[in-house]
């Protein structure tokens, strides 16, 4: 059987199961259909897209919003999203939701930054910048808040974007030979 036929059969089975489930709890068929579509598309999928669009907007890294599927960057990105969600939960989701609501505007970043509720989610925006540039994020403790909060490793230190930007190497990971440092990069 061809892949698309299999997919169609799979999708039909899913659709039937969802319809049974949704309509058993709600009598409303359009809502059930909408819920199915959301689930199949994956709320996760939307989250990921929003996270990547937001990441690109905040950091200025132009290769994030349209990421190569199955690339190393996609793996890292999904891991970053997972870690940030795990650590910060609804605070983090609030930022994604706020940005998503403005993604239709001509300048979503400006709309986000000027939104009165941005200050409530700003620390999350900072952590998104930190994970991409340094592969770390800050976790507050009872005595250490804001920028003084200790950093936690996000798992991909060598892939931080700050290092090529300053023409250096990730600290501890030089691939150049003895004496490279005498020359202007």
């Amino acid at each position: 059987m061809r892949d698309d036929q299999e997919a169609l059969i799979e999708n039909t089975r899913d659709f039937q199961m969802d319809m049974r489930r949704e309509t058993s709890t709600r009598r409303d068929l359009p809502v059930a259909v909408a819920a199915h579509v959301m689930r199949v598309k994956g709320v996760t999928m939307d989250e990921f897209k929003t996270f990547m669009a937001l990441s690109q907007a905040l950091t200025g890294i132009t290769t994030l919003a349209t990421i190569e599927p199955k690339s190393l960057t996609e793996t890292i990105a999904k891991d970053y999203l997972h870690r940030l969600k795990e650590q910060f939960g609804s605070d983090f989701m609030a930022l994604l939701t706020l940005y998503d609501a403005r993604s239709g505007t001509p300048d979503p970043l400006a709309a986000l930054l000027s939104d009165p509720s941005f200050k409530d989610v700003e620390s999350m925006a900072k952590q998104i910048v930190n994970v991409w540039l340094l592969s770390q994020y800050r976790v507050e403790t009872p005595t250490q808040k804001g920028d003084a909060a200790p950093a936690v490793d996000a798992g991909y230190f060598e892939k931080g974007y700050i290092w090529p930007a300053i023409k250096a190497h990730p600290i501890g990971f030089s691939h150049s030979g003895h004496g490279y440092w005498t020359r202007k990069p």
């Binding site: 970043l109 910048v129 340094l134 920028d147 700050i162 930007a165 250096a168 490279y180 005498t182 990069p185």
Partner: protein, 573 residues
């Protein structure tokens, strides 16, 4: 009498390792090294340390690679527990402080590790020598103390230490510095200057500040500038503190690996010495320790030798003596506690100079280490940083600032941050405290629960002598930055009446060397005045702090002490 060994050395850091190695070369001595920590000394261990460091949010902290060792809870060391370095944050700090009138007015905050191989796993590697007047501070300048030995007495041991550790440096830059002649060349030429060093040197080398000629000099450092002793040349990982990934930087595992090939030498790790005691003849020949890897970690075990050497660094060594109530007829054990009190000024260079490439610091300025002013205020040694703003800042801090102050999110964020980071430089200056009996470490009434051993307790304050040096350092750094046309990132030395300072983590003086048994703990050979078979090696014996990193000097002293121990053992037949 039947002893278990000929020599027992307590501590496997640079002093203990070099002492063991030298004794094993001089004679067929049976040597036991007892070490409180427990870790490997091979390249596999180095790799594991690197991975552990990679998992930390604060990777540049001196303890970051060593946080996953069991020894961390069994034999605590003074991690900066005010920062949550990881999820297993220790709730209680290891250091205690005296309180009330006469109590500590500042926090002694020098760190050290309790590892097989000691703190040299994490050191920077700088190896300047003392100057001749550093040994005669009192007779020359009327302050501090005189050592019972001179630069001349130690000079050939300096040469041997430089060979042993693999110190790179430029002979012509340092030979004769304030009288510090060098009878032999360095085993390796100096580390090549970074691009940043070259730009700075171009602007300040040969200039005169307050009548002093400024010369930018390659710091002598135990960092290979070519393959040496089976270890590679520096590859510029910029990770010196807390760990050299490739062992181009010397650490004590170099000597441990050598000496442990000798079947007469044994290292017992996870062994915490609780006291040393006298035999029936009144000689200190008995070492008591707890083995925290055994099935009974609190059982006191005993091992004996006709010579005992304490090499547990300058906090744990006096602590052992105080717990044992020996070697202290002078009442100086634990006293005269000194650190190099440092500060740094950060600045933005007018042009990009690209820090974070190559070793964390390659060059320094020696010119301010000597002068008539030493009768009233401390000298200082300056280092030129290659690590951005050193402890004053980091790329993370620049990012924080750009986001918090300027809301610089967006397409220009990275270039804005990068523009600033590539111009970051710092000048650090390290001053000298005077030995003072009031600055001390003693036994805290608080006992560490893991093994029931008292924690160290500190009474400490930087003195006016070094504060004078800090102030002069600030003025000098500012003047140099002005010459460079660099924009200073000012943080005040004194804020709200409180002195800002950094520790160099150079702990000295707590078993002070001297010729008078009433005023000192050890003689010129490192032998305790009170007990002819108890020796001390390490920076605890320093009579003055001077303005040089202590490791090279303690290595030279250790080589000299090893000869004395060997002669003594030979005399016994």
């Amino acid at each position: 009498m039947n002893y278990d060994y000929d020599v027992i050395i307590v501590g496997s850091g640079v002093a203990g390792a070099i002492c063991a190695w030298k004794l094993s070369i001089l004679g067929h001595h049976r040597i036991l090294i007892l070490e409180a920590g427990d870790n490997g000394i091979g390249e596999g261990q180095r790799l594991e340390f690197h991975h552990a460091m990679d998992r930390q949010g604060n990777r540049t902290d001196m303890f970051a690679p060593y946080l996953e060792l069991d020894s961390r809870t069994m034999v605590p060391s003074p991690e900066k527990a005010s920062r949550a370095l990881d999820a297993q944050k220790l709730e209680e700090k290891y250091f205690d402080y005296t309180t009330g009138p006469g109590g500590s007015t500042d926090s002694f905050r020098a760190g050290y590790t309790r590892l097989v191989g000691g703190s040299t796993w994490a050191w920077r590697g700088n190896c300047p020598r003392f100057l001749p007047t550093d040994f005669t501070l009192h007779s020359t300048y009327g302050v501090g103390r005189d050592w019972p030995i001179s630069y001349d007495d130690l000079e050939k041991y300096y040469c041997e230490a430089e060979q042993e550790m693999g110190v790179s440096g430029n002979h012509e830059e340092l030979d004769g510095l304030f009288g510090a002649y060098r009878s032999e060349p360095f085993p390796m030429p100096g580390i090549p200057l970074t691009y940043s060093d070259q730009q700075i040197k171009q602007r300040i080398h040969g200039k005169v500040i307050n009548g002093t000629l400024v010369r930018v000099v390659t710091t002598p450092q135990a960092r290979n500038s070519q393959p040496y002793d089976g270890r590679p040349a520096c590859e510029g990982h910029s990770n010196c503190i807390p760990l050299c990934p490739v062992h181009a930087k010397y650490d004590a595992t170099t000597h441990l690996r050598r000496v442990l090939k000798n079947p007469r030498v044994r290292l017992k790790s996870a062994a915490v010495v609780t006291k040393v005691s006298a035999d029936r003849q009144g000689h200190i020949t008995r070492v008591h320790y707890k083995d925290w890897r055994s099935d009974d970690k609190n059982k006191e075990r005993l091992v004996t030798a006709p010579v005992i050497v304490l090499a547990a660094h300058a906090i744990e060594t006096p602590k052992i003596l105080l717990m044992s109530n020996v070697a202290n007829s002078s009442d100086q054990v634990g006293r005269n506690l000194m650190d190099h009190i440092q500060w740094e000024i950060a600045a933005e260079f007018p042009d990009p100079i690209y820090p974070f490439r190559g070793p964390q610091s390659v060059t320094g300025i020696e010119a301010f280490r000597e002068g008539a002013f030493r009768s009233t205020r401390s000298a200082f040694r300056m280092t030129i940083g290659n690590d951005g703003w050193g402890r004053a800042g980091s790329p993370a801090k620049i990012i924080d600032e750009e986001l918090s102050k300027n809301k610089a999110y967006g397409p220009h964020l990275i270039s804005k941050v990068a523009e600033r980071v590539i111009r970051m430089i710092r000048l650090s200056f390290s001053t000298e405290m005077l030995p003072s009996p009031g600055n001390r470490v003693d036994l805290s009434p608080n006992v560490d629960p893991a093994l029931g051993i008292p924690r160290p307790r500190f009474t400490f304050a930087p003195d006016e002598y070094c504060i004078g040096g800090l102030k002069a350092g600030v003025e000098t750094a500012k003047a140099l930055f002005e010459i460079m046309n660099a924009k200073i990132e000012q943080k005040e030395l004194i804020e709200n009446g409180k002195l800002n300072w950094n520790t160099a983590a150079h702990i000295m003086g707590t078993c002070i060397m001297g010729s008078d048994p009433k005023e000192s703990v050890v003689d010129s050979w490192g032998r305790t005045h009170d007990h002819q078979n108890l020796y001390i090696v390490g920076s605890s014996v320093f009579a003055t702090a001077a303005t040089a990193n202590p490791t090279l000097t303690l290595a030279a002293l250790t080589l000299r002490t090893a000869r004395a121990i060997h002669r003594q053992l030979q005399g016994r037949g």
